[in-house]
């Protein structure tokens, strides 16, 4: 990545974090933010430290993780329409998490693990459904399979919640809407624990993703162990998505919108693209969350609503382009 692009994106990321910290039920001025950064005192310091900072950092990391997952999945299935949400990963992760919560073992460790199992099962199912006529993977069928699996996991989640008792239901429902209102330093810590390794693995797979995007035969002839590379991308995107879903519910389209925009700016090579996608995805979700908190004040919109409003038109546009 050219350094001016990197500097620009770091600037955008920092600006988004500042905006994310300042907006909310109690609006803060840049001066109050500066006072709180500078010294431990000040009236706003507790709000900033205990609520706003963990919230925007979590939104940033989740956004970056979802965006990097989307970019990696797009190279893997060789189609810009891929996204953890559209491919059914998020739905599978959601189902796994709802099962954990409804069954009463919804701890901070178990929910992400169940979400991971659900994401992997959903992805395997989507993959199997889209292998029509032997080994050829038609991306359009893949998207359709993702929609089918998402619908199915959605139905199962509704069924489980309808049959659960009131308190479990309320927890699952609140969580499923998606959002960062429950963010705290411990949730941020858990997310980092689950997300760090897959993020590093995906960044290290940047060149492998370039080759996967060429197709299996060419990738292999250029020296890629295609099976191993695919497995790494599957497991890493599955784990990242699961960690995101487990901490903040189902948020769609971040993995679709951000890589698309970043590719237009930087081109499709993944070594410059993935860090840019991470920064931009983080900034995008922090700003979406800021908008979700302020658009209907004092009520808070689910942040997934905001990302969908941006993502659906772009998806429609990309779909038209793919089909023509």
């Amino acid at each position: 990545m050219k350094s001016r692009h990197l500097l620009f994106l770091i600037g955008v990321a920092l600006l988004s974090l500042a905006i994310g910290i300042m907006v909310g039920p109690v609006s803060l001025s840049p001066g109050e933010l500066w006072d709180a950064i500078k010294s431990s005192g000040g009236e706003a310091a507790p709000i900033i430290r205990q609520i706003r900072v963990p919230r925007v950092l979590l939104a940033f990391l989740v956004g970056g993780g979802l965006a990097v997952s989307g970019a990696a999945l797009q190279a893997l299935i060789r189609n810009p329409l891929a996204d953890p949400y559209l491919l059914g990963l998020s739905g599978g992760a959601g189902l796994g998490a709802v099962i954990a919560i409804a069954a009463g073992f919804g701890g901070a460790w178990t929910v992400p693990l169940m979400a991971f199992a659900g994401a992997m099962l959903a992805l395997a199912l989507v993959y199997r459904l889209s292998l029509v006529q032997g080994r050829r993977l038609d991306p359009r069928v893949l998207i359709l399979a993702g929609v089918i699996v998402s619908a199915f996991t959605g139905a199962l989640m509704s069924a489980i919640m309808a049959l659960s008792d009131a308190s479990a239901l309320r927890n699952a429902f609140l969580w499923l809407l998606g959002g960062f209102s429950g963010a705290s330093w411990p949730t941020l810590g858990f997310f980092v624990l689950y997300a760090l390794i897959p993020l590093v693995l995906l960044m290290a797979s940047a060149r492998a993703l370039d080759l996967l995007a060429l197709g299996d035969d060419s990738a292999r002839h250029l020296g890629l162990d295609v099976g191993k590379a695919r497995l790494i991308v599957y497991l890493s995107t599955g784990l990242l998505t699961a960690a995101a879903v487990a901490t903040c519910g189902i948020i769609g389209f971040v993995g679709l919108v951000v890589p698309h925009a970043a590719r237009r700016l930087l081109g499709p090579l993944h070594r410059p693209l993935l860090p840019a996608v991470f920064l931009a995805g983080g900034a995008f979700l922090v700003l979406a969350d800021a908008l979700a908190r302020t658009a209907a004040r004092p009520l808070e919109l689910p942040v997934g609503v905001v990302t969908a409003v941006v993502g659906v038109p772009l998806f429609a546009l990309l779909l038209r382009r793919t089909l023509t």
Partner: protein, 265 residues
């Protein structure tokens, strides 16, 4: 570096007729082998087996005393480059970026390209006549230009063996001859090459050895003069031909018009 395939049999599941039956081939440094034959004669299957993509039903492919299936993909890519018939990348890279992908097997996951890598890419770009278009995106290239980009990417691998499946199918005369001349020059410099092609006459002019396949079997193999014989070609291609000689003695094939009587040899 030596590639030896022996007694290859390839049966695809569900098909009663084998795609390859008792096919052998031996490629040495500094030699160029052309593989010819009608559509469906097993040329592409042979290449897929030779390059380790498909495991043969029986028979062996040995590269430098080791079965091809035992080579790690990255180690194999450092000695053997392959240009397949076609490829549809998902994203539109720039030409120089696409050629740099040929260095994948030489690069670590986080390391930047070294001067050796950059020199290999630059050399490949120059040899394939791509300098005027290095900054263009590959979705703006013609079929022939894209084919040259893929050849350049293969050369950037800095291979000892080069395997090409119809590399000049979409090229005009100048670019086709440039590619054949380029490969022949590399062969003179020690590269081993296998080219699958439908151009019998160019195959004859550039090859040291030829392999003629028909229905998965070897119909003829040897020097171009040994392989390109009137009767053999008529049987294999099911069409009458005449074989004449160019001034340097290489056989040249002229397919006959319906009802045409060939001139006496």
């Amino acid at each position: 570096m030596r590639l030896v395939a022996s007694d290859l049999v390839m049966r695809y599941p569900g098909l009663s007729v084998p795609a390859l039956e008792n096919v052998g081939l031996r490629l040495d440094d500094g030699k160029l082998i052309t593989v010819v034959g009608p559509n469906g004669s097993g040329k592409s299957s042979l290449l897929r087996v030779l390059t380790g993509v498909l495991a043969p039903t029986s028979g062996t492919v040995i590269l430098d005393d080791r079965a091809i299936s035992l080579w790690r993909p990255d180690a194999l890519a450092r000695v053997m480059a392959v240009v397949t018939q076609s490829e549809e990348p998902a994203f539109a890279l720039r030409v120089d970026e696409a050629v740099m992908l040929g260095r994948y097997a030489h690069l670590g996951p986080f390391s930047a390209p070294s001067t050796t890598d950059l020199a290999a890419v630059q050399g490949a770009i120059t040899r394939c006549d791509l300098e005027p278009m290095v900054e263009r995106r590959i979705d703006t290239l013609s079929g022939g230009e894209w084919q040259r980009v893929r050849l350049a990417r293969a050369l950037a691998q800095d291979p000892r063996l080069l395997i090409l499946d119809e590399p000049t199918a979409a090229l005009d005369v100048r670019h086709e001859m440039q590619i054949f001349e380029l490969i022949r020059n590399l062969v003179e410099g020690g590269l081993g090459a296998v080219i699958v092609t439908h151009h019998l006459n160019l195959a004859a002019r550039f090859a040291d050895q030829m392999l003629l396949l028909a229905n998965g079997r070897v119909a003829a193999s040897g020097t171009p003069s040994e392989v390109l014989r009137t009767e053999t070609l008529r049987e294999v291609f099911e069409w009458p031909v005449a074989v004449t000689a160019w001034t340097d003695g290489t056989p040249q094939v002229v397919p006959l018009r319906t009802g045409e009587i060939p001139p006496p040899a």
